[in-house]
Symmetry: C2
Subunit: 257 residues, 2 copies
């Protein structure tokens, strides 16, 4: 074979194919990724939020990540925090998607509803409920039959970080790619101390800036429900689980967005 | 402003916009990039080439690079090596495209025709004809009015290398991006000597392989008309103009495709 299965077609590969007169190839279908947001407080972005309400962000950020990874995002809308309506939408998500992504409400009771609903859809159900990752603790990883299901945290920053760690590689696997997608990485000098708790993997957004000929990574601190922290950031650094932080002045690898 | 002009919208930026209820934004239009292949010997890829004929490769490889860079490729077909018909297609390319890309025949006489035709379309015309770059010597850079025009070498490998150096950044400029697109780079140990001529910038395709825990970059040697050399390669290394090569064992930066 000119090109092995699982190869991502680059410009020169199309050239190699046309050179020998191959003008049509069988490709792996782009995976359909259904997206369900949930939460009584979540309203569509074109609506003015009332007291205690917030606009739906995750449908759009996760949709963009899905598209970038080679999948087709299929947003199914916003489910309220009750088992019955959430179950109906979740069943549709699992049947219509090659991969189903839920962005659960952030309160513990609501997360439990999501896990209960996923378990009710079929076996084996929830495999992982909770990760030693910050942000991203309330993540759910599940299988309904052979369909992968990811329950993202409701907080927009956590949802993006966890989607990068689990949804993007799942799409690459569904695409049959031999290699996971590569994110551009740069090396920089950490500009401020980053604290962490041993036993937990931390992802910290950083902004890059050149200063006196040195590329510096400045942590962008902020709550995980503030999407603006990621808007101001250029990438993420990872604090490994066995560390209790990274001191200012250390070299760090920044995974660019 | 939430986001400055010239910003490439990432997933979190869409989130930042929806968070404040902005559901529509004004975007820079994707540049239309017209592509003309030329050469009496060039036939469409679905046709069986006769003696001395070759299938058109550049329309498809350059089209893929244009799309990847954020442009809209508009292939205009294959022009014969005569001024009149080439002029007609070239005039259409410049009027319909925000950027016009010609992939000229490889013989000197044909390159001269391309330059003559571009000069005939309007001022200032051809600005650069020939570069100290290998592969890519017969490159033409031109302006017709305020429309950028790039004349790529006809050899498929040269065409891809030169398109990466000039067409991709031109599209980024037309998109108004503040930063040129970043290609992923990795550091590797050169596995074989690479020879070069001082005064000339060389781009050498390399294949990456892990060997005894070391990432090695193995040069893929081959003629610049053999697209298969790039199909087998993972990236390019650059030999700067002041060097007469890079010895095996040196650390090199590989720009991945």
């Amino acid at each position: 074979a000119l090109l092995a299965a699982g190869h991502r077609l680059r410009a020169q590969d199309l050239g190699g194919l046309t050179a020998v007169g191959i003008t049509a190839v069988r490709l792996r279908r782009r995976p359909r990724v259904t997206i369900v947001s949930s939460g009584d407080e979540v309203v569509p972005p074109d609506r003015e939020p009332g007291p205690g309400q917030i606009r739906d962000i995750n449908t759009y950020t996760i949709g963009a990540l899905v598209r970038e990874a080679g999948g087709i995002p299929i947003p199914l809308g916003i489910a309220p925090d009750r088992e019955e309506p959430l179950r109906a939408l979740a069943a549709r998500a699992v049947s219509e998607g090659d991969l189903a992504v839920f962005s659960a409400g952030s309160s513990v009771s609501v997360r439990d509803i999501t896990a209960t609903v996923i378990n009710g859809l079929g076996r084996p159900g929830v495999l992982v409920h909770g990760l030693s990752i910050k942000p991203g603790k309330p993540t759910i990883l599940a299988l309904v039959g052979n369909k992968p299901v990811v329950g993202l945290p409701g907080n927009p920053v956590s949802a993006i970080v966890i989607a990068g760690l689990f949804v993007v590689p799942a799409i690459a696997a569904l695409l049959g790619l031999r290699e996971p997608p590569r994110r551009t990485e740069v090396t920089a000098v950490l500009a401020k101390n980053v604290n962490s708790v041993p036993g937990r993997e931390d992802y910290v957004p950083v902004r890059l800036l050149w200063q006196d000929g040195i590329l510096r990574a400045e942590p962008v601190f902020g709550k995980s429900n503030l999407i603006s922290t990621l808007v101001r950031a250029d990438g993420l650094i990872r604090v490994p689980p066995d560390a209790n932080g990274i001191p200012a002045g250390e070299q760090v690898t920044v995974r660019l967005f």
